[in-house]
């Protein structure tokens, strides 16, 4: 059975406890750096920390999620590295990283994944509005306030002011299952204790070296995870049904995407969109003038830029099997197009069609990289 340790929270509160815990991690002889979200000039951004002093700015529980760090982690692990990096990540970041590893974009060998139990985060816009409206509070205070409110599930109510992001409200993976070590919050009284749960030999080795006290039963956490997952699955089902209706025909889908200006922010923000350069900005889509004229002739009026629907469909085709539902696409959209909703629906269905789940298992090959003589019989009619 995996090792489970207790992280004691003293009067300085959970953030101090977690910084202390990370300091111990950084002090370990095998760990060269710790990657975690820090307060950098007032913004909550991933940072790679090598100086224990700088851990004072680290806040892995902050309700801000400006970008999915999987792409950064992949970049940092691709190639040779001295020592190991311990990366503190949200569950969806770990799952996205797992997908990137399958695509040879990152390597799991020199990294210890420390996953946090994730209550979700505010959409960037809401978070910024909050900080502006409430400038007197320190970032730590805001985090602690969030940690106080979140466990009840109240922030998942759309009526909350503000609620956590839509993607988080329908996230059925709040527990970071692919991590080497889980930082357990669920079911714990964060003013007293948290847990560090080793899930892999790597994690166990590190945790044992840290010399923390053993934890008691994790039953409370298991129950909390189960409860959350059930609640969010129910919400996901409702959301999927609504989205399905909204994009059920090409016409409706065009309406859905009507505000898109082809800025491609959603693709830049997407952690599993791994191409160095998107095909939509290459010469492939530099059409000839006669083509534009031809399209215009056929339709009578041609919306430019063109290929908007094509772009979204292509991205669905390329990435929906790897979609982890982190919601960064919607977070990045300047025109509030519900991109995440569309990807959760389509991604959920394509992944189900292949019996695949993005981020579930590093050894599970991506659907399009395997050829099975007989599959998708309902599409092919089962004929050879």
């Amino acid at each position: 059975m995996a090792t489970t340790s207790r992280i004691e929270v003293r009067q300085n509160g959970p953030l101090a406890a977690i910084r202390e815990f990370l300091a111990k991690v950084l002090a370990d002889e095998e760990i060269a750096s710790v990657m975690a979200v820090s307060n950098v000039r007032g913004a909550m951004m991933p940072t790679v920390v090598t100086d224990p002093e700088k851990l004072s700015a680290v806040d892995p529980f902050a309700p801000a999620f400006h970008l999915n760090a999987a792409r950064q982690v992949a970049r940092l692990t691709r190639g040779e590295m001295e020592g190991h990096m311990a990366a503190v990540l949200r569950p969806c970041e770990i799952r996205a990283f797992t997908e990137l590893v399958k695509l040879n974009q990152g390597s799991p060998h020199n990294i210890v994944l420390i996953g946090v139990d994730c209550y979700g985060a505010y959409a960037s816009r809401d978070y910024h509005a909050m900080t502006r409206a409430n400038g007197s509070k320190s970032p730590d205070e805001r985090t602690l306030e969030f940690m106080g409110k979140a466990p009840s599930g109240g922030l998942e109510d759309p009526a909350a002011t503000p609620p956590v992001a839509q993607a988080c409200r329908v996230c059925e993976h709040p527990s970071p299952e692919g991590a080497d070590i889980i930082l357990g919050l669920f079911g714990a009284d964060a003013s007293k204790e948290m847990w560090a749960i080793a899930k892999t030999p790597t994690g166990e080795g590190l945790l044992n070296r840290l010399g923390l006290p053993d934890a008691d039963s994790l039953e409370a956490r298991d129950r909390a995870v189960e409860e959350m997952a059930a609640r969010r699955l129910a919400a996901l089902e409702i959301m999927n049904a609504q989205t399905a209706e909204k994009i059920s025909t090409p016409e409706k889908m065009a309406d859905y995407l009507a505000d898109c200006v082809n800025c491609y922010n959603c693709r830049v923000a997407c952690p599993v969109c791994y191409c160095k350069e998107c095909v939509f900005v290459t010469d492939v889509f530099e059409h000839e003038p006669w083509q534009y004229q031809g399209w215009a002739r056929k339709k009578g009026a041609l919306r430019v830029p063109v290929d908007t629907m094509f772009y979204h469909l292509t991205r669905l085709a390329h990435s929906s099997t790897a979609c982890v539902g982190c919601g960064q696409c919607s977070n990045a959209c300047p025109n509030d197009i519900p991109v995440m909703e569309m990807f959760r629906l389509v991604g959920g269905r394509t992944q189900a069609a292949f019996g695949y789940e993005a981020g579930r298992d590093p050894d599970e090959p991506q659907p399009l990289s395997v050829f099975l003589e007989k599959e998708l019989a309902e599409v092919t009619g089962g004929v050879d």
């Binding site: 695509l103 040879n104 974009q105 791994y274 191409c275 160095k276 350069e277 998107c278 095909v279 290459t282 010469d283 492939v284 889509f285 530099e286 059409h287 000839e288 006669w290 083509q291 031809g294 399209w295 056929k298 390329h318 399009l368 990289s369 050829f371 089962g382």
Partner: protein, 1143 residues
Amino acid sequence: MTATYDALVVGAGVAGIRSALDLAGTGQKVALIDHSPHLGGLLVQLDKQFPTDNCGMCKMLPLTERESSSQFCMRKGLFHSNIDILLSTRLESLEGDPGQFHAVLRKHASFVDPTRCIGCGKCAEVCPVEVKSEFNAGLEARGAAHLPVPQAIPNHYVVDLDNCVRCWRCYDACPTKAIDFKFAERESFNILVADPDPQTTADLAEWLKKQKFPIEGPVDGNSVLERAAEGKDVRLLILDMSLSDVSPERVLSRCLELNARLPVILTGTPEQAEAARLLEQGALAFVEKPLDRAKFVPWLDKLYMRIVSDEIIEIDAAAVVLAGGFSCYDPSEVADVLGYGRSPGVVTSLELERLVSSTGPKGRGLLRPDGRPARRIAWLQCVGSRDLKKKADFCSSICCMISIKEANMVRRLTAEQEGGPAETTIFSMDLRVFGKPFQSYLDEAKASGTRFIRSRIHSIIPDPADPGAVRVEYLDDAGVLQVESFDLFVLGVGARPPAGMNELARAAGIETNEWGFCKTMPFEPARTSRLGVFAAGSFSGPRDISESLVMADAAALGASRLVNIYAPLRERRPQPEPEFRDVTRERPRVFVAVCSSCPMVESRLDTDALTRRLRAMSGVTGVALVDRACTSQGWDRIIDKAREVDPNRVVIGACMPYAYVPRLHELGKALNLNPALMDVCDVATLTALGGDDGEGTDSEVFSRLRMSVAKLLGADPRPTAQARPASPVALVAGGGLAGLTAALAVADHGYEVHLVEEREELGGLAMNIRRTLDGEDPVKHVELLIDQAGKHPNIRIHTDSRVALHLGRAGRFFSVVNTPDGPVPVEHGAAVLATGGVESKLYEWGFRVHKNVMTQQELEQRLADGTVDTAGLNAVAMIQCWRSRDEERNYCSRVCCQQAVKNVLELKRRRPELPVFVFYRDIMTYGFMEHFYTEARRTGAQFIRFSPDNPPAMEHRDGKTIVSAFDPVLGRNVEVHADLLALASGIEPADHSEIAEMFGVEMDEHGFLKEAEYKWRPVASTKYGVFVCGLAKGPANMEESIAQAQAAAQRAVRMLHEKHLASGAVVAEVRHSLCSLCGKCIEVCPYEARRLSPTMDKIQVDELLCQGCGSCAAVCPNSATILRGYSDRQVLSVIDAALEETV
């Protein structure tokens, strides 16, 4: 007219195609003929083949020339600029000597003009004739006008004159007037009647009035001779045997002297026996008198049509390859074989193939005769094989595997049925799974649920309780009589010499063996009895695809060796590579030429409007309508008009785009423009299919041409020049039988060969064999090879040497050979690995402990040198499959059964009364070796089968070995007190790990060097440019090793021949700045042409291996990898061009 070729290949099944491709690949001109109207031989009827359960013929596509021909599914068509294909053509005679053969070919008319036939099928619809369809194995009817196979490219209907009833309905129905029965020409077909009886002439004149044949007569013998001497136009002579003034014999011989091809028909009473002699002298036919009008008129009219329509083609060729294949045994030959023909539930294995095929007979499928689904299907092996009564004292070698495959197919096909897959049962005597991957194929079939029963069923009767089914009785292993019913009972029919074998053998002047197959020479498996004529494929004995292709390569090598003597390949100058102008910096100027004279185009297309619309397109600078583009005059007109426009892109709208590839090369030369910037688009089929009123045809055609224009506008105009000369040197590793054979074969083509042998002596394992089963002396043969290799000016032998380093890629390898005199660097273009195998050595069952236990090979040697004295023996026991076909080595070693039979025959020859007992699992005397097995049984030797879960037990007592085992025939245990026990030692691979790693080739699960593809690329290793043969690749007997070595040499010569190893124009390339190195393209590449660079920062494409299939481009999400000639941008614009008119 006589055409000159390097080689003539007779038979265009897979083996013939392969031989032709081999020869064509080394720049030789080949005429490939086949008597049937289609390519592909028997394989067009088989959808899937063992042991891969797919077709896979396309694995040979890399052998075609991509740039100068079209590549299609090879079951459909073959296109190669060096191969002329003549279908419906037979070899009539072959005169001359090696190097200068003269062949006469007869091409049977199909009466359908392929340039006019649009494949609409109207002729077949109206044809009233119903005969058994060859393609569907007689399970379906076809007309006299019919399509021979559904999938061929090009695919034209043919009229089978023999079955035609001359109703001419097809002629009337044909919308393009493609059918030609030569009606008009009858009026000038003069028939001369030399019959003293004036009534004959009168009758004929009356009878043939409708046909309007000019009939002249009666004339006497002298006037016939006069007319013949004057050269008067006589097209047919009817010569009566009762002619009295000059003897009919003299008339005939004189007429034929003057015109060898004059058709002469003899008439007379049946008693006039000399007619038979005259037929031999060249008369065409003998017709009994009195003439029967109802029979004679149609017969004569058909004869006329043949005479004027058939074509006689004479060719000169340096060498001939015969690839006549085999035919399947027809159980209806003899009345009521196993209920075949009487019970509809009894079918042959070929019929079953058709029943389960998607192109099988309509409305049949896998059903019982009464229409219910067939749920219980059984196969019976050895129908027409291993059967002395049917004059088949040979094993057909392929039927066991075919039946297992069919059982697999049936199970898959019925897997979704209620109750799961159908029950499959195979009845057999032995299961001959002797090919390397066959044993595991059998094991899988067993595991998946097919039942295997050892029994030879003698009769099949309708089931009295269920009339739709058949009932069989058999004795099971326990000797109990079992009765079982089956819905379908499949006869695993054996192989027979091909139909028309005798005529072909006579025409080609070759001998046949006692089973009617082509006779070949000892240690020269591809050589026939006639010098310069080679046997490919299964022409010399039944073989599976893999071995047929090996024999095809070996035959091609024989032919090529011969051709090489007269016109050395190395000295031939390759066609000068045309240099095309670089149009990269020019604005596109497209010239569109549309053929306006295709029958449908004329009537259904508004050509003026089309021209106008094409001219209006951006980028189009010239449009021309050209009359009959398919003729050379038409082509010249295209060239002329194109010159006027000076285009840098050319679109041609015509028919049959695949036929134009060589033409485009001509045009390329004329315009100094790369043919990659030209496209042929099929407008003829569109117009033909466009409905009777031509509705929508105009826009369809325009849109198709527009697509072609868009494709060319988007084409990458950069010149493609990537030529690299191959080093004209080969490295052969291994100096045994295979290595020596390969080295000599390559060296004979003028290429330098380095032969590397690890040991101090050449010769290898073959030196341990005293004689072959056929009684030949292998040591003598190998010593001869060693002598030849030693004296060969092109061979350098390195004994006691090893390859120490190997780098580079096909065409340009660099190796270092460590010799006793120091390292020798070798630059070479190809490598052949013939590093051999070893006899298994194991120390159990008393071997090496008891003096009377030895291997079969030791027994052979000790019999030969006299250390075993048969006089002192009371009994001999042999145990087969001692270490083969078990979990550890799950393959048959092939040679052990042959060796056992050989030793049995030798023991019995010396002491006929000596009791010999052979314990075996399956006797693997495949092919004609079966005959020795029969002989061994005749000598009285006892063959006792054991099953692997109950092997013989043994005990050593007083210098004797007591073997006890269960005898399934007697149904009880037997005990043999043997003075001598011979164990069948299997073949094991030599330790190839080092050589495999150095050469970058893979090993299979047994440790043999792995073939790139077991069936279709049997001597290619997994690395391009490195070939494998002999025991290094798997167990084989000497003949097989020799054939493989020759095949490997053939492949190596082909590679060395390349003065310019050029890649195709359509190859994948990587745009590194866009590539994320995700590696998906490496996984999907079926040709292993892609890899991550050693520095891990680039995906590299081997442009020689890349076949341009586009899988990588499809899987790449951002077009970082692209296929030249198919860029996304280009394809998207083509789609736009297609949709603009229609959507």
